[in-house]
Point group: C2
Chain length 209, copies 2
């Protein structure tokens, strides 16, 4: 008979209070990692930020890399959530510009610190945490799918030529977002991502029927 309390991290059963605590930990970890990088975001600091003790942290996560995985999932939900709203009814170039503004505005809201949460996590985790890399790969694939779906809708509505390669364009747009955010993060200036997106959109204009 196994004592199932404490560190059974297989398929856990949490109370509402427990879920709240778990969420608080993940959100705190996400915030600290985005704001000051993985190295400086120690578990102790995360505990302080979340207002929990070490035992609580290990009650909800097997180890640090499990927490990191939860952070990747959380940031994926946050980022893709904000994009989904705008990309699901991508019916015009106007909507595309609004999408660009959302990206630029949200970067400026954090004063260009952190860049894209998913992009930054990739930089730190891609070569050190295979599970996280896989999760990030899936996140980017889904993001790309959102873009492709939106572009397909525009194409169906006759705003892009029928032979438009929406698959390739989705990758290009995502690359422009990521590259632009990386440059803007480095420079603490949102102009890079704005310019990169404007170029990508300008290219789309040339693909009108």
């Amino acid at each position: 008979m196994t004592k199932t309390a404490g560190r059974d991290h297989g398929a856990r059963t949490f109370t509402v209070k427990g879920q709240a605590t778990r969420t608080r930990i993940v959100k705190s970890a996400s915030r600290l990692i985005a704001e000051q990088g993985m190295e400086r975001a120690t578990l102790e600091e995360i505990q302080g930020e979340a207002g929990v003790s070490a035992s609580q942290l290990y009650h909800y996560f097997a180890d640090k890399s499990a927490l990191i995985l939860a952070v990747v999932e959380d940031q994926t939900d946050v980022v893709l959530g904000s994009h989904r709203a705008l990309l699901q009814n991508l019916d015009s170039f106007q909507a595309l510009h609004e999408w660009r503004d959302m990206i630029v505005d949200s970067l400026e809201a954090q004063h260009c610190v952190g860049g894209c949460p998913l992009g930054s996590l990739t930089g730190t985790l891609a070569e050190s945490n295979p599970l996280a890399r896989q999760a990030l790969k899936n996140s980017f694939t889904e993001w790309e799918r959102l873009l492709r779906t939106g572009l397909n809708a525009m194409r169906e509505r006759g705003q892009l030529r029928k032979d438009t390669d929406t698959e390739g364009l989705a990758v290009s747009l995502l690359a422009a977002v990521q590259g632009g955010l990386l440059l803007s993060q480095t420079r603490r200036d949102s102009s890079a991502v704005r310019i990169a997106l404007d170029s990508s959109i300008a290219y789309l204009y040339t693909l009108r029927p």
Copy 2:
């Protein structure tokens, strides 16, 4: 009278042998960091890779962050060096395609591991090491300048319209490189960066006179 041997890391004087050792350390550090990320690349491991002792490492570098700064400089030289050759005589769209191939080929040569050394370093250091961020910012600025100069040359040669915004395009191209490499690194598949660059170049084609 100060004993200037050992850990005087202000303005050092090295013998050729010393320089060689220092270089060996930096190269080993660059390699390990690129291949397995900052966290897993401990100083001990770097010592092993370079075949030096701890005292040697601290003979040449004040501390780890000084070594990291040297790594940023080293990778900047390596990356920009390979681009300079191709961008300095950017005289045609053909040359632009060769530039794209160089990027794709060099990523494939390392099996898509590490992505862009500078981009990955940014992901890990931007929010934890202000000096490194500044150095990376300068590196990207110089990279952008190389691109702009190349595009200017193309414009002068009449391959781009006279009113072409080479400044913005340079940023866009750099973003496409960085974003594409990030996605390719995550997927271990070079197609993303190839597609991103092809789109950017396709846009340039629309800017011919």
